[in-house]
């Protein structure tokens, strides 16, 4: 059985460094004890792009990111960041917002941002005006002298984001940046990410919310059980996963669609069914099949969304996902 995505052959000889890429994993493997967190991963992230890392929990996203940050070292393969091997020097040029947020509860907002900025090698004089500007942008100026523990969770998240970008990094890595944010602040953060993109910064962010990935990303990388199962621009991915999705609303049982010609998967939602159909399947036949067994109120054919592709690939089990995908292709 072939994997979902044909992997880029792992080049064992160091690839030529290119100014157009900010991150390059080359045949990287990372294990923790007997658990293989990342398995022979090759991945290239071009400069100036917004790259989405998606995958189920425990798939290996954070381990991949931590290797970029030089927090974890690869057991095999190489990680190149900003034109040089990942290390302490490259880590300073990256802004990193980890999934597990953390601030010093008793430190004042301004001091904590200053501290993190200084750890990244910036001076107090450089940071001071930027801190004020960022606090103003996020509406945190009145809170600048408050202790972090006095802030709401959403506010703390904003402070953490400011601390991530305060040293003007070339690469920004955001691990689940939207978790815990209300819709208003989510929009604010989306705006900031778009602004970073306009400034030519490269942004990597991991998310479980496919709408965010679709809205913000130029390209998406998906990992399942440590293996890369998806990598490319959204256009490429959509072109590859051309299987249509049919949404059906009406009265009847799920069994009505089982055995329908060309239907590869049926998902039941309250009041509607979602059918994944093979590429090139005759939709008219499926409709006829459904009408014979189901009282149809709505029948709509649409292009697959990233969410559909994610579910298809991840499913409940990555192995099964690979099987489905291979069948789909």
């Amino acid at each position: 059985m072939q994997p979902a995505i044909e992997r880029v052959p792992a080049a064992r000889a160091p690839a030529a460094r290119s100014p157009d890429r900010v991150v390059h994993h080359d045949g990287v493997t990372k294990t923790f004890g007997k658990h293989v967190a990342v398995d022979d991963l090759t991945l290239t992230i071009p400069r100036g792009s917004v790259y989405g890392f998606i995958g189920p929990n425990g798939a290996g996203k954070t381990s991949t990111i931590r290797m970029i940050m030089h927090i974890h070292l690869a057991d095999r393969g190489s990680v190149e960041v900003l034109g040089e091997p990942a290390g302490q020097r490259t880590a300073r040029r990256i802004g990193y917002l980890p999934e597990e947020r953390g601030l010093y509860p008793k430190m004042r907002v301004r001091d904590v941002v200053l501290y993190f900025g200084r750890l990244k090698g910036r001076t107090r004089a450089e940071l001071a005006p930027r801190i004020d500007a960022w606090l103003e942008k996020f509406g945190l100026t009145p809170w600048r002298l408050k202790k972090c523990q006095e802030l709401s969770k959403g506010m703390q998240q904003k402070v953490q984001f400011i601390a991530t970008v305060i040293h003007q990094p070339e690469l920004v890595i955001l691990d689940e940046p939207f978790s815990g944010l209300d819709p208003v602040n989510t929009e604010v953060l989306i705006g900031v990410i778009e602004e970073l993109k306009r400034e030519g910064k490269t942004v990597i962010f991991s998310t479980h919310v496919m709408e965010h990935a679709e809205k913000l990303c130029d390209a998406v990388f998906m990992i399942c059980k440590g293996k890369k199962v998806l990598d490319g621009t959204l256009e490429e991915i959509r072109a590859r996963f051309r299987d249509d999705v049919i949404e059906v609303e009406g009265d009847g049982e799920r069994a009505a669609f089982e055995g329908a010609p060309g239907v590869t998967a049926v998902r039941e939602h309250p009041g509607r069914f979602e059918l994944t159909v093979e590429r090139g399947a005759d939709v008219q036949n499926i409709l006829t099949h459904a009408l014979a067994r189901f009282r149809v109120r709505r029948f709509e054919v649409r292009a697959p969304r990233l969410h559909d592709i994610f579910l298809k690939l991840a499913g409940d089990d990555a192995g099964a996902a690979a099987t489905i995908t291979a069948k789909g292709e």
């Binding site: 940050m69 030089h70 927090i71 302490q88 880590a91 300073r92 990256i94 990193y96 980890p98 597990e100 947020r101 953390g102 601030l103 010093y104 509860p105 008793k106 430190m107 501290y115 993190f116 200084r118 750890l119 990244k120 953490q160 601390a163």
Partner: protein, 468 residues
């Protein structure tokens, strides 16, 4: 690298020293030391004032006068706030019982007890006739006791005439001290001392002894204690406290400095791991820089405490002349600083590794137990080392890395101080121990700081040490 270490150290230092708890601890301990050293003076200054009137019923007819004289001498001392007034009662004139038989004395004694206690109970302090207490001096007090009887043959109990547990014969040769308070020990000592002195003087006079000669003979009995120094003829005055208390306090100060700092390090490591700051930190600096910064920051906080407490302790001890010359020489202070630094590094490495492995103080408890045992070894052996400072056990403890900082400081401040070569061996032992634990602790810290869930097992820690 140094910049990062200093940044982390300074943040951790400020995070602790800005807390109210630290400031209170910083001020509280020196205050306690200063106050306790000045307490006797304060008590004297703000103590009771006024006149305490004692009636003296002297059935010998010879002692009231000398007692009064001795009390007058005491009253004349400049810093006396409580004056003792003596009211002599002439019993011979009043009831003629002075030389009477036992039964007559017992009756007279009861009479005076009743009468004088009435004067002590009634009225208030402004009443000049109100008594604070009284003395009943038996008629045979001046008689010399019979030569000591063999202990196996107790004296035959005389009849107990008045039912107070003392026979009339015994009562006649004793002094009764009655006062409104027996806990006012100072007054009791002064008055009974004056009685004892007067009785002894009269007895010596009666025996034809030269009282002045006996006094002078007594005064020669004091023993002056001196410590023999290293140079010929180098003798310095010593006192019990300077030889025992000061070295102990120095060791405890060192221990508290080390433990306070290491404890702060443990807390801040657990806190950073718990609130997830650590991932942001190690994405900016190396784990070793973080560890070094944290260790240095906690050491600085301990140093501030130690300087404050040490200075307060030194001046307090010096004000009561407990510091023997040479006890805290420049070399000894340098050794103290050295053992504080390396002793701290030794324990800090262990504490940092434990902090990195745990997500809560509760988790850390089980790991702390063996470390506490290591700390207890020198503490439990302090008494032994003071008694036998050059024994084999004392030397081994001086060189065992975990006890070396404390035992070495103790032996340096004892008299005679430990040979310098023994201290040098201790210094090397502590430095090697600290280096090894920094290396091992650093390895564990690097991996453990990202671990989640329950603390690792020993097998897992061993694997980290081999793999990292």
């Amino acid at each position: 690298m140094v910049r990062n270490v200093l940044l982390v150290a300074w943040r951790d230092f400020l995070a602790v020293v800005r807390t109210k708890g630290f400031l209170i601890g910083l001020v509280f301990m020196p205050t306690v030391i200063a106050v306790s050293s000045q307490l006797p003076k304060l008590f004297k200054r703000f103590g009771e004032e006024g006149v305490r009137r004692f009636a003296v019923v002297d059935f010998t007819g010879q002692l009231a006068g000398p007692i009064e004289q001795r009390i007058a001498v005491r009253n004349a001392e400049t810093d006396r706030k409580v004056i003792i007034a003596i009211e002599r009662i002439d019993v011979a004139a009043m009831d003629g019982a002075a030389a009477g038989d036992g039964a007559a004395f017992a009756a007279a004694k009861e009479k005076w007890k009743a009468e004088l206690s009435k004067r002590a109970q009634g009225g208030d302090d402004s009443d000049p006739r109100r008594l604070y207490g009284f003395l009943l001096i038996g008629p045979r007090v001046l008689e010399l006791p019979v030569a000591a009887a063999p202990p196996a043959a107790p004296r035959k109990q005389e009849s107990d005439d008045d039912g107070d547990g003392v026979s009339s014969t015994d009562a006649a040769s004793s002094v009764t001290y009655c006062a409104r308070s027996l806990t006012a020990g100072d007054l009791r000592q002064v008055v009974s001392g004056a009685v004892r002195d007067a009785v002894r003087t009269r007895r010596m006079e009666a025996a034809g002894l030269d009282v002045d000669l006996v006094r002078r003979a007594d005064s020669m009995a004091g023993i002056e204690e001196m410590v023999i120094g290293k140079k010929p003829g180098d003798l310095s005055k010593a006192s019990g406290p300077s030889e025992a208390v000061v070295p102990m306090v120095a060791v405890f100060l060192l221990l508290m400095g080390v433990m306070q700092s290491a404890g702060m390090l443990l807390n801040s490591t657990i806190e950073e791991k718990g609130n997830r700051v650590v991932e942001v930190l190690v994405s900016s600096i190396r784990p070793f820089e973080l560890l070094a910064g944290k260790i240095f920051g906690a050491w600085l906080t301990g140093l501030v405490l130690l300087l404050a407490w040490g200075a307060a302790g030194y001046f307090a001890a010096d004000s009561v002349q407990w510091i023997r010359p040479g006890m805290f020489s420049g070399a000894n202070v340098a050794w103290f600083a050295y053992f504080f630094l390396f002793g701290y590094l030794l324990f800090a490495s262990l504490y940092a590794a434990v902090g990195a492995m745990c997500t809560s103080i509760q988790d850390a408890q089980s790991f702390m137990f063996p470390i506490v045992i290591l700390i207890m070894i020198p503490m439990m052996s302090l008494g032994f080392v003071m008694n036998q400072p050059d024994s084999l056990v004392a030397r081994v403890l001086t060189w065992f890395p975990f006890s070396a900082p404390f035992i070495a400081i103790l032996r340096l401040t004892l008299s005679p101080p430990a040979p310098q070569w023994q201290i040098a061996v201790a210094a090397v032992s502590v430095a090697i121990g600290a280096w090894f634990l920094m290396w091992a602790g650093g390895k564990v810290f690097r991996i453990a700081i990202f671990s989640t869930g329950k603390p690792p097992r020993l097998g897992e820690i061993w694997r980290w040490l081999r793999e990292a």
